[in-house]
């Protein structure tokens, strides 16, 4: 039976849009199917996108895409109950094109990206859930969606972290709880002028905060990003650690919002939306089989996210993997052969790019980040030590080393701390 399309892409998130856009640009007939009412309506991200991957696909995309602010200042903040010890890095180099990273609101962003797919000649259809893959022998030959069978030479599963297609095609089983994190986020409206004054930024410059120590000891952290006229604030916690702890996911965001230091940053902001999203951060160790006859796996569905504690990157991985899947699709089309053997080039292509290279470089990061002391002992220690340095109340003073030893007593041994520091080589 003849194919209705050369390629069907399931899911109009970043990876799906990137794949469909690239395929359409190559002149392939492509159908992009989205289960949400419109593209973007099921998409959530923390909100910081590193620009390089999309810039490669759509040069200077920030000129036309609904981006928010380019991040020129990164702040890492260690929180105890009442204090914050922070390190800030500010550079004008991130404030000029090609920008290092932009904050985005992903629903709006993907609505734009899907419109680019249409402009390039792809067909985008929304509000339709893909129920299953069509199989003939060991070949995937299309999808079943909305009671209809649609046939194609290639299916690209870009259906996200909860991908049903990856499981149905037996490319992987469910991600286990140890390799998944839960992000819980609020978007808060705040006037542009207030953001500029409060965060000391001009024009479209922006700030990104990473918080550690705000999760009641649960593995994870918090973030706060400035958008044009809103803030994105959230927590990301490991599911495995959350299950073992005595914490409620919704309360962890409340705790961050009510922290005395954070409170001042969001003062007067108006809640606009509440969202949640699973993040596959198992790294290379959790990498599934990426292809089989007629099928490729991209983006979150493939687990392409890298977390090293300070940086949590998924969006640039999604874009690049989508583009690489399209490249593999192009080669298959030229050969007239969509077998697993030909499509295996997808993995070879990924190995030449940052996607699989960076996951390989940070292969030990997931294990390092399991260390519970990162999420309460050390942030507390940093804050207590800083307080000891700055608090002057007339009682006899101690030198820095003495003060540090005193703070560490009963919390963590020197040997353990050195060992933990050495573990940071995984980053």
């Amino acid at each position: 039976m003849e194919a209705d399309f050369e390629a069907i892409v399931v899911g109009a998130g970043l990876s799906g849009c990137a794949a469909a856009y690239s395929l359409a640009k190559q002149g392939s007939s492509v159908l992009l199917i989205e289960r949400g009412k419109h593209p973007g309506s099921k998409n959530v991200s923390g909100g910081l996108m590193y620009c390089h991957a999309l810039h490669k696909l759509i040069p200077e995309f920030w000129k036309e895409a609904p981006v928010e602010r380019h991040v020129r200042r990164n702040v890492i903040s260690l929180l105890s109950k009442e204090s914050a010890a922070s390190l800030s890095f500010d550079t004008s180099r991130f404030s000029v094109p090609p920008y290092n990273g932009y904050t985005v609101l992903l629903s709006k962003f993907n609505e734009w990206f899907a419109s680019k797919v249409e402009q390039a000649g792809g067909i985008v259809t929304s509000g339709i859930f893909v129920e299953n893959l069509l199989q003939e022998g060991d070949k995937i030959v299309g999808v079943r969606a909305g009671g209809e069978e649609i046939r194609s030479n290639l299916v690209i599963a870009a259906d996200g972290v909860n991908s049903g297609l990856a499981e149905k095609a037996q490319l992987r089983s469910r991600f286990d709880s140890g390799s998944l994190a839960l992000g819980v986020k609020s978007v808060l409206g705040l006037p542009r002028k207030t953001i500029e004054e409060r965060f000391n930024v001009q024009g479209d410059d922006g700030v990104a905060y990473t918080f550690l120590g705000c999760t009641s000891g649960v593995q994870g952290g918090g973030f706060l990003y400035t958008n044009k006229e809103s803030l994105s604030i959230g927590v990301v916690v490991g599911i495995g650690s959350l299950v073992e702890a005595d914490a409620k996911s919704a309360d962890l965001l409340d705790d961050l919002i009510s922290h005395p230091t954070v409170k001042g940053l969001i003062e007067g902001a108006d809640p606009l939306e509440y969202s949640a999203q699973l993040i596959p951060e198992g790294g290379i160790g959790a990498k599934p089989q990426l292809y089989r006859n007629g099928l490729l796996l991209v983006g979150d569905a493939a687990g392409f996210v890298q977390n090293n504690g300070l940086l949590l990157r998924g969006m640039d991985f999604a874009v690049a993997s989508g583009a690489m899947a399209a490249e593999a699709g192009k080669r298959a089309k030229e050969k007239g052969d969509y077998s697993a053997a030909t499509l295996s080039q997808y993995e070879s292509l990924l190995k030449e790019t940052f996607v699989l290279r960076d996951l390989q470089t940070y292969r030990n990061a997931p294990h390092f980040l399991e260390n519970p002391r990162l999420y309460s002992t050390y942030p507390d220690l940093a804050c207590d030590l800083m307080e000891r340095l700055y608090a002057v109340d007339g009682s006899p003073r101690q030198n820095l080393v003495g003060a540090a030893r005193k703070e560490m007593k009963g919390k963590v041994s020197l040997v353990r701390m050195v060992r933990d520091l050495l573990g940071a080589r995984a980053l």
Binding site: K37, H38, S41, N43, V243, A250, L253, D254, E273
Partner: protein, 94 residues
């Protein structure tokens, strides 16, 4: 609106939903044991799981479709699906 007093119920009130007629998640009473109940009550960021006269109940109203419940509960404790195409949460910001 004060952020301090912004509990989950009020936060969810900010979101747009096109609610499906049928529930996409079902509690499997035989397999959903005490430990699962305790976990599901805690991990759902939208607090869609509640206890009603000792039984765990899922309410699809407010579900953010994140999948945390499926990831956290033991296999089979809940039947997890996406809502029908075009229904469920409709993020405007994301």
């Amino acid at each position: 609106m004060s952020l301090d007093k912004l509990n989950v119920e009020r936060r969810l009130g900010l979101n747009s939903f096109d609610t499906d007629e049928e529930s996409h998640i079902k509690v499997n009473r035989e397999l959903c044991k005490e430990r699962d109940i305790e976990i599901l009550l805690r991990v759902c960021p939208a607090k869609c799981f509640t206890l009603s006269s000792g039984e765990l109940v899922f309410s699809r109203l407010g579900c953010l479709e994140c999948g945390a419940c499926r990831a956290a509960a033991s296999p089979g404790a809940i039947d997890w699906n996406f809502p029908r195409g075009g229904t469920g949460i409709r993020y405007r910001y994301g």
